[in-house]
Symmetry: none
DNA sequence: TATGAATGAGGTTTCATTCAT
DNA sequence: TATGAATGAAACCTCATTCAT
């Protein structure tokens, strides 16, 4: 619908819209800067320049640098959280479900900027307890709970033999995290086929597959 | 004459010794500060205060903040590197060797400041390629090579069934890295028994054990 | 509406104007400080205080102390350069032209802050080749070329007997430079009537005058 | 005489001698540094390094940087002063005497480090009144007095026609000072034959010469 | 709302000077 | 006497934040 005055087609109609766009540009720019420099080394000047707004404009949207950072991380995590909420694509075997999830994660997180956000949280978490708390509450604990449920399903169905695995669902996702970190730090030195690594990892858990 | 005062063991004899001590104090203090604040947010003023020296003294030992950081990380990694060089305590089964190694790592790295150094590298690596390079060259690639050798030994001896594991030795150590990160970020929220987790992980690889 | 307050002539209308004023104040203050302390001993803190701005404001106008210095000198030389460009007040004898020029120079340079700038260039030139180059190119070589033209005119007209003088136009201006230096260093000890000295100097070149 | 123990010929016999040598080395090094950097930008560290002594040693010979500078300049001026004291090589014409003096000055001052000392005084004089005073008293006023005496002798002998010249002996030496400054600042851009220039200058005063 | 010039606290770094050896 | 490690005041410069327009 929306159907506003078509204007010059490009210019974003009304004021509210332009404001929202500016805000989005700031968020986008700030994320990029924070990812590539970390919190302390990021200059709001650069964020403003990259977002195409004046420095003062940032303060119309965020109280200060710190709350901007925290809010940003939260915002950026929402898509990941939503994905966790989404019911796993029930259907095939548990292995297929886990593998689907991991492929998704590796493709959409480990190899993209979202992976850098994870690394950013690892980097700045200790100095921003609010962020570590939020990340634990919204991502880690939910993700592990979901993974544990899958593991238990796998055990119940007889796909997984190792009963103890449900005590440490972290093991299931460990290679995915490794992939994220490897990507940021070492892909230059040696590329890593994260998806294949994950498959081998699943072989350990579910037993070797017949066919690929 | 000068009487050769025997000193009360506390006063560090000669000048060179005191200088060395001061340097050690600076290194110690700087590591602590870098770990808890990251590179950019660390103030050399605080480092000096913590080390009990004047600000200028730092510059007698290091060219500037950046090279201090790089040199520090290198220095701090040496013990880890040495441990990797040390021939694995050959003897029992491959599983025992790996488990011994992991216990050692978790006890001496994951739960100590050394673990924070690993996290620091993850955090600052992208901004300090020299550090990431050094870490890859001296720690990661060697560690993975050693691990691959062990895996191949395990396969040769029949302890390990999954031949593909040797392609991704990262899988073997993944839980150890998870432990390091968990320790820094989430141990407050939920403690993690890293050693037990690693044991379960080894069960996946070597098969379940009869007795503990 | 906003009533268009006519302002009381003191308040500098719009923002751009105030910025320009501030910049001018910085330049003014910096020149004074550089002149009285030299480059290295000048503190930007003092410049800011004298200009009535904050320290950071200086950096909105100049990249750093060094480029501020170079730019300042260049700016300050422009009036002198313009004067050199101006066609000499053709008219009377060559002697009158030279004497007019010298009187002007002594009055407007040797006895004012502009003279100190010349001394500043002498003082800092070796450490700022860019400045010495600029000064040579824009002031010295042009000034000497002009002076040589005048000398040749004087020779052609028969006012000057010494044909060799055109090989060293420096001789013509030497007393003017002496005056500049004397002013800065020794006027306290013994005042120097630079204009009279120059007249005597011209007597050597053009022959003694009948009347004053 | 001196005839001390020949020792190893190279090593400077006794302690006092070594101390004197060290002092000389410091003076030498400091002069070089001050000349090429100016007072404020000279680092005592560099002076010490260049002199081959420890930083602290400088303070055994000089109260502080400032008095070292002043003392240095004084010391360095002594040879020039002595030369002024020396009775002019009476003999030929006044012109010969002046020319001899000027050639000497240009050869031994303008083209050497001593010329840089003159420039250094021009540069730092205003900030070191004691130095400007000393220089005026010991060099300038004496030099000008001597020059005035020569001029008056020239007038008396009929060699010089311009009676007023004795009022401004500065005119006589002006080209020599020009040469000093030119050397430091512009010799890179355009060499200046100072001796020839001075000769032309003398032609103005004494009349053109028959033979060269 | 949006701007960006201005601020000034605070950071890194330098260097004259001291002093225990 | 000579050393040079240590000091810490003071310099340059940055950048989060404010505010008049």
């Amino acid at each position: 619908m929306k159907a506003q005055a078509p204007k010059t087609a490009k210019a974003p109609a009304n004021r509210a819209e332009r404001t929202a766009e500016r805000r989005a540009a700031i968020i986008e720019a700030a994320l990029d800067e924070f990812i590539s420099r970390g919190f302390a080394a990021t200059r709001l000047d650069d964020v403003a320049k990259r977002a195409g707004v004046a420095k003062g404009t940032i303060y119309l949207h965020f109280k200060d640098k710190e709350s901007m950072f925290e809010e940003l991380i939260r915002t950026a995590l929402v898509p990941m959280i939503n994905r966790l909420h989404a019911p796993p694509p029930v259907g095939g075997s548990v292995r297929d479900m886990v593998e689907g999830f991991a492929q998704n994660f590796i493709r959409e997180v480990a190899s993209t900027r979202r992976g850098d956000i994870v690394r950013l949280i690892v980097a700045e978490g200790p100095r921003f307890p609010a962020i570590a708390d939020f990340y634990y509450r919204e991502v880690v604990s939910r993700g592990l709970a979901g993974m544990r449920a899958l593991i238990e399903l796998g055990i119940a169905r007889g796909e997984i033999q190792h009963k103890n695995l449900s005590r440490f669902p972290q093991i299931m996702v460990a290679p995915a995290l490794i992939a994220v970190i490897w990507q940021s730090l070492f892909s230059r030195h040696a590329p890593l086929d994260a998806i294949e690594m994950f498959r081998v990892h699943l072989d350990l858990i579910f037993g070797e597959r017949r066919a690929t």
